[in-house]
Symmetry: C2
Subunit: 252 residues, 2 copies
């Protein structure tokens, strides 16, 4: 089997957050598969074929990519952010795990990238500068009870928390319930960062607290960071505040 | 005040993991500050001054960088990996928080990058593809009791866990104690990934289990990923195994 499949991430925003390694893999591909807006970011090349699909079709897209690679093609699956964090590398592995045996012989590579939480954190300083947890609030793939348990325990562990998929058009109440759970352990005054469309033209960064957050402004394009007890906000005269998590923890 | 300070990350390994945005900031700097091996990766330019310092001097380096920026210079602090994850962006914020008031007026930027855990995960598939925690095992900055509590709670939350700073020349026992704590909750059979010097010429990737890990081979250049109960290993004939964390969780 001579096929190759590489999963790359475009980062959350501008092209200058795409690593040269990911860029080289894209340029070297015969076939490019991905969610439509990601593929639209890649210039057309005569010798390449783009296969666009809808957002909810990760596993089918992974299977299509593997079938193409198994036929001997040089295939790239294009993901947003980092392909290994709530993104396409997982779907590709799952498709291999449950698919035909010969897919296990394909040369699989994953190119790391900038995931949304790192870009969001960078915009305000270093809120993820010490121990943290990364949790998706989507209950499509896991029951809400699991999400709530994870929030409760990581909050008790006093980790800063990055929340992916905090809301969608039809799913607005999870973020409110999540904030209620987190407030029980860490109170209402810990810093909260809302990074909407980070790296895009319509980016909006809000620094607030758990108690002051207007959860109505959180949508599917928002990355939410909730600070730990050692996350601090630095007020600046005429400039946006900085937020960072102290490297030192004094007691348990 | 006309000074500017940007904190950038070089990623954990090769130059093609450095984002174009970080590269542009480096090229545009008048002064570059950083740990010696990171500065050594940057070509000499006649119009730039490099200020190298030792690894343990993060806060002093941050203060030097801020003082230079406050004097009107265009300064870049060079970090490894992503500058916001156990790296220099935190030290810069801490120095501003505790330093002279006029440092708060400096134009501060952080450029996100590829942190070691994302590169390590990419090498084996997608072990961080679902909810995970990120914990430093160094007890220089926090007591061991805090580390152990965090490990226990995140293990109970069934998160995959990326461990930074798992060991040093003088600190070998923490990783053993961490594994003992994690095994109590998740057993000995969950997958473990050891990524030593990821992205470097002497890179070594090991896929094993919590019970089978030889902790003696873990050093300060190793990034450790411990899987959750839903992390799976895919054996491949003649190829290294893949590791991924299932997107689906069925029960709490």
């Amino acid at each position: 089997m001579s096929g190759h499949l590489t999963v790359v991430g475009l980062g959350p925003g501008p092209n200058d957050w795409v690593t040269p390694a990911a860029q080289a893999a894209i340029e070297n591909a015969e076939d490019l598969l991905g969610y439509i807006p990601y593929l639209n970011r890649i210039p057309e090349r005569a010798e390449q074929t783009k296969h666009a699909s809808d957002n909810r079709e990760e596993l089918a897209r992974a299977g299509d990519a593997l079938a193409l690679a198994a036929s001997g093609r040089r295939v790239v699956v294009v993901s947003g952010g980092d392909p290994g964090v709530f993104a396409m590398a997982t779907a590709v592995c799952e498709a291999i795990d449950t698919g035909p045996q010969d897919w296990r012989q394909i040369d699989i590579r994953v190119e790391p990238g900038v995931t949304a939480m790192l870009a969001a954190a960078a915009r305000v300083g270093a809120p993820l500068g010490h121990d943290f947890a990364v949790i998706s609030l989507s209950d499509i793939l896991k029951p809400w009870e699991v999400i709530e348990k994870r929030l409760r325990l990581t909050s008790e562990a006093d980790l800063a928390i990055a929340l992916y998929n905090p809301a969608s058009k039809t799913r607005k109440e999870q973020i409110q319930r999540a904030f209620t759970v987190l407030a029980e352990t860490r109170g209402l005054n810990v810093p909260v960062v809302l990074a909407k469309a980070v790296g895009r033209k319509d980016e909006e960064i809000t620094v607030t607290t758990l108690g002051q957050t207007d959860t109505d402004q959180i949508d599917m394009r928002t990355l939410v960071i909730v600070g730990s007890s050692t996350t601090r906000t630095i007020a600046r005269n005429g400039l946006p505040p900085l937020v960072y998590t102290d490297r030192f923890v004094k007691e348990s």
